[in-house]
């Protein structure tokens, strides 16, 4: 069902845990459909110095969180903002159709953590929108 990359990140998640005194923390998701993702960012000099995640969700949700932390680490805030769910999926060699929404969660969690950082520091990051409440729904396959 999952690619080797997904399984690798699922079984050896990178950057799992918390950061004390993080510069920004973002929690997204909706317990109702099973997925909650939290990203901690340590930002220094506009660079993501360190990152951690915690996730309550399926294998794809765990793997996307893990790879997303790798993708943003060391990047500038602006570049971190450009880590899309597509980039996350590509980095994992793809996800099953029914699991695409889990990768959206990673994108949103990063954005939420960046938003928190911006709020705390009273700065504006271009192109960053405030996190939405319910960020996704499981899309049902239509039967044409």
């Amino acid at each position: 069902m999952y690619t080797e990359k997904v399984m690798d990140h699922f079984s050896n998640p990178r950057n799992m845990g918390e950061l004390e005194n993080a510069s920004g923390v973002g929690t997204v998701g909706n317990a109702k459909c099973g997925d909650i993702m939290r990203i901690f960012l340590d930002i220094d000099n506009n660079i993501v110095k360190d990152v951690r995640f915690k996730t309550f969700g399926c294998g794809a949700a765990v793997a996307t969180s893990s790879i997303a932390t790798e993708l943003v680490k060391g990047k500038t805030v602006e570049d971190a903002l450009k880590v899309t769910n597509k980039a996350v999926m590509d980095a994992l060699d793809g996800l099953p159709k029914a699991k695409v929404h889990c990768s959206l969660l990673a994108e949103e969690a990063i954005h939420a953590a960046l938003w928190d950082y911006a709020q705390k520091n009273n700065i504006e990051i271009e192109g960053l929108e405030p996190p939405k409440e319910d960020i996704h729904e499981h899309e049902e396959e239509d039967d044409e």
């Binding site: 999952y2 399984m7 699922f10 079984s11 998640p13 799992m16 845990g17 918390e18 929690t27 317990a31 109702k32 459909c33 099973g34 997925d35 909650i36 993702m37 939290r38 915690k54 996730t55 309550f56 969700g57 399926c58 294998g59 949700a61 765990v62 029914a98 729904e137 499981h138 049902e140």
Partner: protein, 392 residues
Amino acid sequence: MDQAIYFDYAATTPTKKEVVDEMLPYFTTNFGNPSSVYSIANKSREAVLTAREQIAKAIHAKDDEIFFTSGGTEADNWAIKGVAENYQSKGKHIITSKIEHHAVLHTCEYLEKQGYEVTYLEVDEDGLISVEALKNAIREDTILITIMYANNEIGTIQPIKEIGQIAKENGVLFHTDAVQAIGTEAIDVKEYNIDLLSMSAHKLYGPKGIGALYIKKGTKMKAYIHGGTQERRRRAGTENVPAIVGFGKAIKLAYNNREDNNKKLITLRDKLISEILDKVPYSRLNGHQTKRLANNVNISFEFIEGESLLIMLDMKGICASSGSACTSGSLDPSHVLMAIGLPHEKAHGSLRITLGDRNTEEDVDYLLEVLPDIVKRLRDMSPLYEDFIKKS
């Protein structure tokens, strides 16, 4: 199945070797169409008769009350839509429960769109319906009560005899989806006043793609699948002879050894339940403690999500199942776990272990060895657990 330990017998069972051996001649040698005139088709005809007898005997029915279908799902569809269609002049009200299999629930929902009314009975925290509530739900225009024998997720066994009694007293037909009960429970359709009962072979070490509907003599039931004159004109289509033979053999084996098998299953089941609850904090048993299928364990672990749990177990070579939304292919976690009152997050973190003939005490010990660590690892990863620890 390699070296993996299979703990998902409620999803499907391997077909027993003896069953496959019994089926084999009907593929290549005695392959004749039972409807044919020539004598070599006698073997197919007789094989179908024998299987019908074996199945009838297992549930104390008569041979001509057994009708083969392509599985439990078709049997459920036929039973419910059949009563709806053939009894609509009497009324259009059906009573069922909130924890039925989707084969029943989605069929009922379909009928609602066709102008039928359906009452979905609540269940208590153990998954039992209330017979009082059932009595109160019966109306002048009620034509059918369809309540499952035993639940596929939490293993709770309903008070079938009382339900049958109530149905009889009120002149309402009673259908029960016995797909999970058959093979381990002693079922007597006459004593329990069951009018219609659904079965599926692949849950009792028979082949997939074959099931049956018991239809009590005298019930008005026309064909749901139209065509040839097979199954006394009630179910068209060339008989699936090898699968029918396998179904017969499997049900016979199951009932010949039922008590011994159950004893073994119950021992393993109870060990699993007590030790998991003991070893893993913030866990609870789902389903009734004693009114429970011999092979069913269903436990919720707070703060973790079921699919991740299943994948980690899989990496340890253990096959199990969950009521998590992430595995259900639909928007919500298991409707059964919701109906017994679990909040969403707890329903997500459920683990179903269903035991079967290949399981040993060593398997159970191995599961007990690896499970607590896996739960711990997932909790360490869980933002919900983090919040909980910080709050407390």
